[in-house]
């Protein structure tokens, strides 16, 4: 049994047979270490693959010779000679022995050397020979991997394990047969993650070298909740996870019953419960999970992985589609939040020492008004087709709000002159994710229609904890007293100006924290679509007055751990089964 760690991007559990698909470039082979005892077996495996490949080519040559003729079959003689090339074979075997690596890796490494040598030769004819070698190399690697299949060949239910999943890969596969996804690359917003969540199957990304560690047909367990892949599990573990899987399905089915019910407390307090999305493909998932609208529509996606800037028309059509599909609910479009860990290659932005504190989000937009206006015009135009609200990320002071509003007004006037319709009363909000904005929220509240507290970044900036640094992950405490005080402050300041406050971070996924946020008088909670039912259940299980009492008490503690212990105990007391599934 071996447990591999990755990032869980879609929760749930699956036990089943692996279906491994290797990189699209067959010569990109992840290194796999082998033990000294395995070396002779590895070499035998290589020799065996050589023999089988040779037999294949002899078969093809014979067929060609009979059907087409001698000239055409000659090329296969060259193929056979490559297979029999002692230098090549000995180099591979030497690499296996010296470096203790798998023969797939050794073979592809040696071949890469030849590709490089050939590529440097100024001879078109020889450069073309690379394709012959690739052809033979691919054949040999196929034989080494054993069953190496296209996703299209997924004929029985299995767990798809791949280097990466592209939209075209997923288009090919029979989705009814996919129990889970595991990939080597990707993050929480990768295509695999989105797909896993929208299909509601477990998905784990970022599992190093998984395609070389697992073979097609191996029995594996995927734990999308905790980001694990368990290879070669023992019977006891299989039973344990089969139980977990069943329980997860029961809980999910139970939660789905809440879909059409409001996010309302036992004593009648209703809050707005929305979903965070990045792609419009996620809308079915938003609807399926019973979210009331979209509390955060991230727009960075339009700007990433392309060589030009997205135009007004393209963005307009996308925003319009989301607004129409989510109607009668509303969608909050967040303007471009580039920077930090995601930046545009096409903009040639200089490298920064401290990108999270650098020229990102609204700061960037205010220096590139040309780019900003294209997006603002697109959002305004789409606002004529549904309920759209707009919010600016990374607001740190009132002057940024004023500048942004000025540019927005300019866009409105342009559209008016052009006779293009838009919602003149479109609400404008500020994201509160920088402590300075939270602290001055009394003044900010006068400038906007609403606040949305971006808790992920608010925690990062308030506690000075890099979210992606594992060493200090223990310092990342959503229940830190400083965070609770800031949230409380923002809510009080907003309500004093009759403005509403939402949150759009991940912390509300914890039912006890959802109750705490309710008690802190948050008006709206927006979270990942699949977390929505969990939050709804928490809201529906408690009284608003109890939540308020819990929040009131929670504000008195001095450490995040004390707060967490307290709210867990309290919530457990008033709604026993809420935390049981965690």
């Amino acid at each position: 049994m071996m447990t591999l760690k990755g990032i869980g991007v879609s929760p749930g559990f699956a036990v089943g047979k692996a279906f491994v698909r290797h990189s699209d470039d067959p010569f990109v082979v992840a290194p796999r270490a082998i033990t000294e005892a395995e070396i002779s077996r590895e070499i035998a495996r290589f020799e065996d693959a050589l023999t089988r490949t040779r037999a294949e080519i002899l078969g093809i040559r014979k067929k060609i010779l009979n059907q087409i003729g001698r000239e055409s079959s000659d090329i296969f003689n060259a193929h056979l000679m490559i297979l029999e090339d002692r230098t090549l074979i000995e180099d591979v075997i030497a690499l296996v022995k010296e470096r203790g690596v798998s023969c797939e890796y050794a073979f592809s490494t040696i071949l890469q050397r030849y590709f490089q040598a050939f590529a440097q030769i100024d001879d078109e004819y020889l450069k073309e020979r690379i394709s012959d070698i690739k052809d033979i190399g691919r054949r040999l690697l196929n034989n080494l991997y054993g069953e190496r299949e296209d996703l299209g060949a997924l004929k029985e239910r299995g767990i798809v394990i791949s280097h990466d999943l592209s939209p075209s890969d997923t288009a090919m596969m029979d989705k009814n047969n996919v129990l889970a996804f595991v990939t080597e690359i990707g993050g929480p917003t990768s295509h695999t993650a989105i797909l896993g969540r929208s299909m509601e199957i477990p998905a784990v990304v970022g599992v190093d070298h998984v395609t070389s560690k697992i073979k097609t047909g191996d029995r594996v367990i995927v734990d999308g909740t905790h980001g694990l892949l368990i290879a070669d599990p023992d019977e006891q573990t299989i039973q344990e996870y089969t139980r977990k899987e069943q329980h997860f399905i029961e809980v999910t089915t139970e939660l789905d019953k809440l879909r059409d019910l409001p996010a309302q407390t036992l004593d009648g307090k209703r809050i707005s419960l929305g979903a965070n999305i990045e792609f419009h493909d996620e809308i079915p998932s938003v609807i399926a999970h019973g979210a009331e609208g979209i509390g955060l529509y991230r727009t960075e996606y339009f700007y990433m992985n392309r060589s030009d800037l997205p135009g007004e028309e393209e963005q307009y059509r996308a925003y319009k589609q989301v607004a129409e599909r989510i109607f009668p609910h509303s969608v909050i479009v967040r303007t471009l939040d580039l920077g930090g860990d995601k930046f545009l290659s096409l903009l040639d932005v200089p490298h920064e020492m401290n990108p999270f504190l650098g020229c990102r989000a609204i700061r960037f937009c205010l220096t590139r008004i040309d780019i900003f206006k294209v997006q603002l015009r697109a959002i305004l135009r789409a606002s004529a087709h549904g309920k759209i609200k707009i919010m600016y990320p990374m607001i740190s002071s009132i002057s940024e709000i004023r500048q942004a509003t000025e540019i927005l007004t300019e866009c409105k006037e342009e559209l008016k002159k052009e006779g293009v319709p838009f919602d003149a009363a479109m609400e404008v909000g500020a994201m509160i994710e920088i402590p300075s904005a939270a602290i001055t929220s009394d003044a900010l509240a006068k400038e906007v229609d609403f606040f949305s507290i971006g808790t992920n970044d608010l925690i990062q900036y308030t506690l000075a904890v890099d979210r992606v640094n594992e060493k200090i992950a223990y310092l990342y405490e959503p229940t830190h007293p400083a965070i609770l005080s800031l949230i409380r402050l923002v809510v009080v300041n907003a309500h004093r100006q009759k403005k509403w406050v939402g949150t759009c971070g991940e912390m509300s996924g914890d039912p006890a924290i959802a109750v705490l946020l309710l008690g802190l008088d948050i008006d709206e909670i927006s979270t990942s679509p699949f977390v929505v039912p969990k939050v709804k259940k928490a809201i529906r299980a408690v009284r608003y007055t109890d939540a308020q009492a819990i929040a009131h008490q929670a504000l008195k503690f001095h450490t995040g751990a004390e707060v967490k212990r307290f709210i867990d105990a309290e919530v457990n007391l008033i709604a026993k089964d809420l935390l049981a599934e965690e």
Binding site: D74, A78, M81, D85, R86, T87, F118, L126, R129, I133
Partner: protein
């Protein structure tokens, strides 16, 4: 190891296809029939004459100048056979640089 110094011969590639594809294959097949070590040298590059991949990386085209280095028990016979391949232009129609 054989202590014999081996024999060397300078050859100019005169067949149209050069020491590519089929000629390369014929050369390597022939070389493999002998026990001697066979090296092919072009400029500063030296490859194993029994390796098709090696011969191909030499990229010895029409007009290239190469040196054959053969050493071993059957070195004379091997050199004779290999040199003859070049003399016969690997069975291609006789071709002179035009």
């Amino acid at each position: 190891m054989d202590k014999k110094k081996g024999i060397r011969k300078k050859i100019e590639v005169q067949n149209k296809l050069g020491l590519h594809a089929r000629p390369a294959a014929i050369f390597v097949q022939t070389a493999n029939r002998f026990k001697s070590d066979i090296e092919v040298i072009k400029g500063r590059q030296k490859v194993n004459g029994k390796s098709i991949m090696g011969i191909m990386t030499l990229a010895a085209g029409l007009g290239a100048s190469i040196i054959l280095h053969v050493s071993g028990d059957d070195q004379e016979a091997a050199m004779e056979e290999l040199a003859r391949l070049f003399e016969n232009n690997f069975g291609e129609e006789a071709n002179r640089p035009s």
